[in-house]
């Protein structure tokens, strides 16, 4: 387990996303309108669509390729589709806005 400083809160737009690469893994970072920042593996379990490119609605992201829905808190694919994406823990230091990712 490593904790990485990955940047500042203001680098991610609200309802927007960024991606980053850690070793071999590409990770998508989302900032919800609730203020939460969530991270998941940037790969849709369906056909590998980049989740960072999808539209964020509430706490779910819609894959840009075929509209699978993934709950960002749990990584669970929403019915009627099934599957799971790895999630990662993100901490926000509200004083500085620094973002920490645990991997």
């Amino acid at each position: 387990m490593t904790k990485l400083l990955i940047g500042n809160l203001n680098e991610v737009d609200i309802k927007g996303s960024r991606k980053l690469r850690v070793g071999d893994t590409e990770i998508a970072l989302f900032r919800l309108s609730s203020g939460e920042v969530l991270a998941v593996e940037n790969r849709c379990p369906h056909k590998g669509g980049l989740l960072s490119e999808g539209m964020v609605c509430g706490s779910k992201v819609h894959c840009p390729l075929h509209d699978w829905r993934i709950e960002l808190h749990t990584g669970e694919v929403q019915a009627p589709d099934t599957g799971h994406v790895t999630t990662y823990e993100v901490e926000v230091d509200h004083a500085t806005g620094s973002l920490y990712l645990t991997i």
């Binding site: 309802k15 980053l20 490119e53 539209m55 509430g58 819609h62 019915a79």
Partner: protein, 809 residues
């Protein structure tokens, strides 16, 4: 002892007369010594096929029915190029213009008919012809080599076939017709209107409700003047306004003549030993102008001459088929409803099919078929037989067996195997859906969609899904009022009305005030609300980037591997060597794996890494081609008059002008335009949202075409004269579409939903058009190029880059 053969003379070496002779030769080959006189310098040929010769389907040689060898083999004396000028009925001889005199025992008149020439000044001018014989056909072929503009007067069968042929020969053809609709003698208004649409799509133009007044030009025809003072240019005028039986010879010989040569049921005229068949004859008050009746007459006459017993000729029911490529039209019998008749109609304008049956006393008395004429022959034979069709009417109309119709829609679904795919996009089988209903408890299409994905993509299978719901859920099935998406029960119009009424200004506000069930909406409603708000409040509303689809958010098309494509704008498809070099250099520098021309005449640089997008845009320094958005995509053009030998207008210039005018426009769906320089329509403008086709001295404006999943040809909106008017109408049309259509609804679907007429009406008044133009201009004046904006704004540009490598804490 050989019986002396009787002398038989036939005047008129055409279709009816020679047919009677052929028949006679079969029945009594030895009975007569036959002589035939014909004005035309050819053996007997198939006049019907002249249309095909013109349209390129046959050569002149191919249409000869009986060649000279045939005449010889039956010892027939043939005088071609001889016109019989008089008959001496007392001496029983005929005389020709070339001085030949021949004696007869029996005489057949089959002089056909003459084309009717309008009694207007100028018909004698060079370049004014009828469409009747080989000579006319040859003139048309010759003229088309040297000249461009043809007018056909007469929108009947013959006129349309002539026009189609001239079109094939590369001429610019207008059909002038006195009635409001074409082929009014064979078709009802609906079929006629559909026919016209088809022919217009082939490039034919129509000048309807036009009365020709004079033919202009000195020696050669130059144009046609109408009674309303308007004029049309022409290098060739073909008159196809009707025919009149050719009866002069008969009249001057003292034979009874009415409209045609009067004959009884055995084709006998008022004088003994003289018969008449074909178009020159009038039987029970009717002079026929089609081949089938003439053949029936010929058969009766042949039997009579052969001394074989025969029932008399009792008249014919006629049917009509238009021999024009790509258009199937059939009509027969009494095709217009009258008191005492009932009509059954089937009309499917999406497929271009129209059928009508006219029924009287349970008998089929007439039919009109358009688009699908397969049943024509069968229907025609029923009309002729006068069969009782009670109980089978619908079956005949739809061409289906009765039991298929009797059973409700469910039955087909019931019989369908469980593993048959209902939703092709998502591979959902009938079994899966059935289970979702019976075991999963789904009671609405929406639930089935959520549960199985059936009908979740293109929606084409929705009717089947509904059918299955009825089948398996029966009473329990609920039809939930569906809004624009699952987050609301409100439809597009209600939402737009509420936004206006309450002056809602953000997506969030709309969802909140209108009680969305999903707090943050979904990828369906968010982009649509974003669109409606931007359309309604172009000045105040701030576009919500995060409510746009991926492609529009990143201003590039996402590909299946997560890479993007770059399509710079190339106005009207016209580029320059310098621009090409620039594009090539950028492509090389960024290692673009694939460079392709798009369907809309531009260059697509595919397989670009997202990080590279802003850099590439910067280096290209060209505007975005918006190849990704619900916006103006391309304006496809042909070379037009700039280079093309057919072009009548500057298609390039018009295309560029339109593309510059509407560049960056947000619309409910993507919008594609095209401009063709002449009716040959090389830019395929008639499958675009807005298609412009040049005609001489003006432009045709076509709307609502689509070349995508559901191919749809455009409808003609109107014809305008000037370039500015093209801009005006295009602006008005596009703005009206922006204001009225649902989000994600292409013009083709929209027009099918609301009807072309409602759009025509809305754009009819110049004031309304001006208001629409003003609104679209306001909107357009507020747009900026997205690529430039991103390139110059770090805050936007950051989203294209990955977060730089983190450091370990």
């Amino acid at each position: 002892m050989t019986v002396k053969r009787k002398k038989l003379i036939l005047v008129g070496n055409g279709m009816a007369g020679v047919r009677a002779i052929e028949h006679l030769l079969k029945l009594a080959p030895e009975a007569y010594e036959i002589t035939i006189f014909g004005t035309e310098p050819y053996p007997n040929y198939n006049r019907i096929m002249l249309s095909s010769v013109l349209a390129g389907g046959a050569s002149l040689d191919e249409i000869v029915i009986n060649d000279l060898e045939w005449y010889r083999s039956f010892n027939i004396t043939l005088y071609t190029g001889h016109t019989v000028t008089s008959i001496n009925t007392a001496a029983r001889t005929v005389n020709t213009d070339k001085g030949v005199t021949a004696a007869y025992d029996e005489l057949i008149l089959a002089t056909g008919s003459n084309p009717f020439m309008l009694p207007i000044p100028g018909t004698e001018k060079e370049g004014v012809i009828a469409f009747r014989d080989i000579k006319d056909t040859q003139i048309m072929q010759d003229v088309s080599q040297k000249y461009n503009k043809a007018i056909v007067i007469g929108g009947g069968l013959l006129g349309l076939e002539a026009a189609r042929g001239l079109l094939h020969l590369g001429m610019d053809v207008s059909v002038v017709h006195i009635h409001e609709y074409i082929m009014e003698r064979q078709l009802d208004e609906t079929a006629s209107r559909m026919l016209r649409g088809e022919l217009e799509a082939q490039g034919m133009k129509f000048l309807l409700k036009k009365q020709s007044e004079a033919i202009l030009g000195k020696k050669r025809v130059k144009g046609l003047l109408f009674a309303d003072g308007e004029m049309a240019e022409a290098d060739l005028i073909v008159m196809a306004v009707g025919i009149k039986p050719n009866v002069e010879l008969a009249r001057s010989s003292g034979i009874e003549v009415n409209r045609g040569i009067v004959v009884n049921d055995y084709m006998e005229t008022s004088l003994p030993g003289i018969y008449a068949v074909g178009e020159c004859a009038e039987h029970r008050g009717i002079a026929y102008g089609l081949v089938a009746p003439l053949y029936e007459q010929g058969a009766v006459l042949a039997k009579r001459l052969a001394g074989a017993p025969t029932e008399g000729y009792a008249g014919s029911v006629t049917s009509t088929k238009l021999k024009v490529s790509g258009v199937d039209v059939f009509s027969a019998g009494q095709y217009i409803e009258q008191p005492g008749t009932k009509a059954l109609r089937f009309q499917d304008e999406t497929e271009g099919i129209y059928k009508k049956l006219v029924i009287q006393d349970d008998k089929l008395i007439g039919a009109v078929l358009f688009g699908d004429t397969n049943d024509g022959a069968q229907l025609f034979s029923m009309i002729k037989k006068g069969e009782n069709i009670k109980g089978r009417e619908k079956e005949l109309l739809l061409g289906l067996p009765a039991d298929a119709l009797a059973s409700p829609k469910g039955n087909r679904l019931e019989g369908m195997p469980d593993d048959e795919i209902i939703c092709g996009c998502n591979g959902v089988t009938k079994g899966t859906i059935a289970e979702a209903i019976t075991a999963g408890g789904c009671t609405s299409v929406g639930q089935i969609k959520a549960c199985t994905k059936a009908s979740a993509s293109c929606g084409g299978c929705k009717p089947l899904v509904e059918g299955l719901l009825q089948l398996y859920a029966g009473e329990a099935a609920v039809t939930v009022k569906e809004g624009i998406c699952g987050c609301t029960t409100l439809g597009r119009d209600e939402i737009v009305a509420e936004i206006k009424r309450m002056k809602l200004t953000t997506v969030k506000e709309v969802m909140h005030v209108l009680s969305w069930s999903n707090e943050e909406g979904c990828p369906k409603c968010r982009p649509s609300l974003n669109y409606y708000l931007g359309m309604l409040w172009p000045e105040e509303y701030v576009d919500e980037n995060e409510s746009r689809y991926t492609n529009e958010r990143y201003h590039a098309n996402i590909q299946k591997d997560g890479t993007y494509s770059v399509v710079p704008r190339i106005y009207g498809g016209v580029t320059s060597p310098a621009e090409l070099i620039k594009i090539a250099e950028v492509a090389v520098k960024y290692d673009v794996p694939l460079v392709k021309f798009t369907g809309g005449q531009r260059l697509d640089l595919l397989g670009v890494k997202k990080e590279d997008l802003p850099k590439m845009w910067e280096e290209l320094d060209m505007p975005s081609g918006h190849a990704y958005g619900k916006t103006l995509r391309t304006v496809k053009t042909c070379v037009g008059s700039t280079f093309c030998r057919f072009g009548t207008q500057d298609a390039l210039g018009m295309g560029i002008r339109l593309e510059k005018a509407f560049e960056r426009l947000n619309a409910p769906g993507k919008v594609k335009l095209a401009v063709s320089g002449c009716p040959r329509n090389c830019a395929e403008a008639t499958i675009k949202d807005f298609g412009v086709v040049a005609i001489d001295g003006g432009w045709e404006l076509h709307v609502g075409g689509n070349g995508g999943v559901h191919v749809r040809a455009t409808d003609l909106l109107c014809v305008v004269k000037t370039d500015d008017e093209v801009l005006e109408w295009a602006s008005a049309f596009l703005q009206y579409y922006r204001e009225q259509a649902g989000w994600n609804e292409r013009t083709a679907q929209w027009i099918e939903r609301v009807g072309l007429d409602s759009i025509k009406q809305a754009l009819e008044s110049p004031e309304e058009r001006a208001a629409l133009v003003e609104r679209i201009q306001k909107t357009l004046s507020l747009t900026t190029d997205p690529w430039k904006q991103i390139v110059n704004t770090p805050e936007l540009r950051k989203n294209f880059e990955a977060i730089s490598l983190p450091e370990t804490v």
